[in-house]
């Protein structure tokens, strides 16, 4: 036990002295939170205030639906949209150069394709301007097309039901125009979901947790390169304490850094994650999951440098997939995979906690994170040690 503490203390002393932990685990993520929250700042307050936007469009379609689509865009209440029509081959360049939010190419035969249930491709070009307006417009267009499709299905159904073709088209059109296409309302955040700004703090905390725990077990590779590992192994110290000490270092650094980041997020960005004890449990779970992952990384790499690269890749993949930068949606198998992502679980857990959830409500995220930890440790036991030869 004494040896374990001696080794843990030795690592802390070095990590604090070389300031690397301070920089990579606290300063960088805080700076990123600041920058990202400025970038997405307008959303942070909870009310959506959309800026006027331009849509560059080309309509090759001779039927009614193409024009209807553009009309609909022009009549969105929450957002002033100017539609500018250009030839099809100019849409892409115009969109990029004029600061338009979105480019749309409506192909020939779009209306008839929809009416008959045939596939048709609507080309959307993302503008170089504000991400927010662009993504709102994309979701509106998608919504409208869905409604068109619904309308043509209605029409087809009406035809099947014996309604005369003219009347059937009428019903279809009513289905399109009669309904307001989309309501954009000032959203209140639904329970179980974080506001954008809180999501940012939570996401960056989860992401950098994966970097911070790397200072633990992966430090073994640095010790191997320094020769100090061999020296420790020649002393009267049980072998398991060597790895245990590193794991303890990674875990505690991870917990400490996450706690500081969440607390700073609360103070600096005015977000609230709910009960500290619930948040504490989530942090412990996330740190355990992250630490266990370093066991696997330590097994598959040969050098400290490779370890850092591998850990960065793992962190970015899990971080992005878990929604550290923006929420990600998936379905089917991918969705299951993403549910198992500890960063995602951590962010979901914080969402539940922020919405007033207690320990019982965060059971799922906790199980996910601890399950992940157990699986990683087990997997690492069965992996051959590629770095063993020195």
């Amino acid at each position: 036990m004494r040896a374990l503490w001696t080794m843990v203390g030795n690592d802390f002393r070095q990590r604090l002295r070389d300031k690397s932990v301070l920089i990579f685990s606290l300063i960088v993520p805080l700076a990123l939170m600041g920058v990202l929250s400025l970038a997405f700042g307008r959303l942070g307050t909870g009310s959506v205030d959309l800026q006027p936007a331009t849509v560059v469009a080309s309509v090759e379609d001779s039927g009614p639906l193409g024009a209807a689509l553009l009309d609909s865009l022009g009549s969105i209440e929450a957002m002033k949209v100017t539609v500018r029509e250009v030839p099809a081959d100019a849409v892409s360049s115009e969109t990029r150069t004029t600061g338009a939010a979105l480019g749309i190419v409506i192909p020939a035969g779009f209306s008839s394709a929809l009416a008959t249930g045939q596939p048709s491709t609507l080309q959307l070009i993302e503008g170089s301007g504000s991400v927010l307006e662009t993504s709102v417009l994309i979701s509106i267009v998608t919504g409208i097309v869905d409604q068109f499709t619904a309308a043509s299905v209605t029409e087809a159904a009406a035809k099947l039901g014996g309604v005369p073709p003219d009347a059937a088209a009428g019903i279809g059109r009513i289905a399109v125009v009669g309904e307001p296409i989309l309501h954009i309302t000032e959203g209140t955040v639904p329970a179980g979901q974080l506001s954008l700004r809180a999501g940012l703090v939570a996401g960056q905390t989860g992401l950098f947790l994966l970097f911070t725990v790397g200072f633990g077990v992966l430090g073994l590779l640095a010790e191997k390169e320094q020769g100090t590992l061999g020296r420790i192994r020649s002393t009267a110290v049980p072998q398991w304490t060597i790895v245990a000490a590193k794991a303890a270092v990674g875990f505690s650094l991870g917990v400490a850094a996450s706690a500081v980041l969440l607390a700073s997020g609360t103070l600096l960005f005015g977000v609230n994650f709910g009960s500290p004890s619930v948040v504490g449990l989530l942090v412990l779970g996330a740190a355990a999951a992250a630490t266990s992952l370093t066991f696997i990384v330590a097994k598959v790499v040969r050098t400290a440098e490779q370890a850092n690269v591998a850990q960065s890749i793992v962190a970015m993949v899990l971080g992005i997939a878990g929604g550290a930068f923006f929420p990600i949606q998936a379905s089917g198998f991918m969705a299951v995979l993403m549910d198992l992502n500890p960063v995602g679980a951590f962010i979901r857990g914080l969402g539940i906690s922020a919405g007033g959830g207690g320990i019982a409500e965060i059971a799922m995220p906790l199980i996910t994170m601890w399950g992940f930890a157990v699986v990683c440790v087990l997997v690492s036991r069965f992996l051959p040690d590629r770095g063993a030869r020195s």
């Binding site: 040896a3 070095q14 320094q226 020769g227 100090t228 061999g230 020296r231 020649s234 002393t235």
Partner: protein, 309 residues
């Protein structure tokens, strides 16, 4: 300590091939051999860092095992490569490893001070070791190994790349410890060090012990032959050929064209004949030297190779 029939293979290569030896308390035992002879591999097995493919090591009557804790208490290891923390001070390095070796608080602080003093590091003990010179790092590297006064001190080429002053203080520190009853296992490819420090020496080449004994015992193995080195230009192969046929010349080693090394009985008497033979064979001599037998000549005698490449 004793090592019994140690074998270690790396794939096709048998790095250590059936090596046995024993060291008594207070005795300094040298493993002398060129780079790649297998010295570090033997040490790694003795220190329990790698498992032997076969054979065994006992220290203080306990079987060595990579997982063995009791046996490692008796061990002090000074690895060939530096093994110190660059961000920590010398004192912190010593404190850390001393604690791992199980030294209690009081003993630790007095031993740390003693070792810092012994190796001339006391004045700069509070500086991060990354600011140290190469020699100071080497001295600290050794200090850590002898901090807890181990029963067996293992040093793997501790003086490579060290300034003469550091080298002396290192050799003195080892001598002190040995006088206090510590068994020392010392590897080197410097013959002078082995001669100065070691009570008994094993000559190691290609993973095998070629000969073992005190310096004098080893030298009698050569039959008391002297070594003559001829350095010069031109037709050295022809000269070597001619020299081999002279009476009293045992062996002629042609190392790359400019130097011929001869092992001869009574070099002083034969020198004149040897020089004239070489010159007549077309060699232009730049220098000639006669060396009385030493470990270098023992190695040459046993392996036909020079100790240093």
């Amino acid at each position: 300590m004793s090592a019994d029939r140690l074998v270690k293979r790396f794939g096709e290569l048998t790095a250590v091939d059936d090596v046995s030896f024993a060291i008594r308390p207070g005795e300094t035992y040298g493993l002398l051999g060129p780079n790649g002879a297998g010295k570090t591999t033997i040490i790694n097995m003795v220190a329990g860092l790698i498992p032997a493919d076969s054979g065994s090591v006992d220290v203080a009557g306990i079987r060595m095992d990579p997982a063995g804790i009791a046996v490692k208490r008796h061990l002090g290891l000074v690895p060939q490569e530096l093994a110190i923390y660059p961000d920590l001070t010398a004192r912190e390095n010593l404190n850390f490893f001393g604690r791992l070796q199980g030294l209690g608080r009081k003993e630790l602080s007095s031993r740390v001070n003693a070792v810092l003093e012994l190796l001339g590091l006391a004045e700069r003990a509070g500086e991060q070791t990354k600011k140290y010179s190469g020699g100071m790092k080497r001295r600290l590297n050794i200090g850590i190994g002898l901090l807890h006064r181990p029963g067996l001190l293992i040093l793997d080429e501790p003086t490579v790349g060290v300034d003469p002053q550091s080298r002396n203080s290192i050799l003195e520190a080892v001598g002190d410890l040995s006088a206090g009853g510590t068994a020392v296992l010392y590897t080197t490819h410097y013959m002078e060090e082995a001669e100065r420090l070691c009570d008994r020496i094993a000559i190691l080449d290609q993973g095998q012990i070629q000969a073992e004994g005190t310096r004098d015992e080893l030298i009698t193995l050569t039959g008391g032959v002297d070594r003559i080195s001829l350095v010069g230009a031109g037709r050295s192969a022809a000269a070597a050929e001619a020299l081999r046929s002279l009476d009293g010349v045992h062996r002629v080693t042609d190392s790359g064209g400019t130097e011929l090394i001869l092992t001869v009985t009574d070099g002083a008497a034969l020198l004149a004949g040897i020089v004239s033979t070489a010159v007549r064979s077309g060699m232009t001599l730049a220098s000639v030297s006669v060396t009385r037998p030493d470990l270098e000549s023992v190695f040459l005698h046993l392996t036909g190779k020079a100790l240093r490449d």
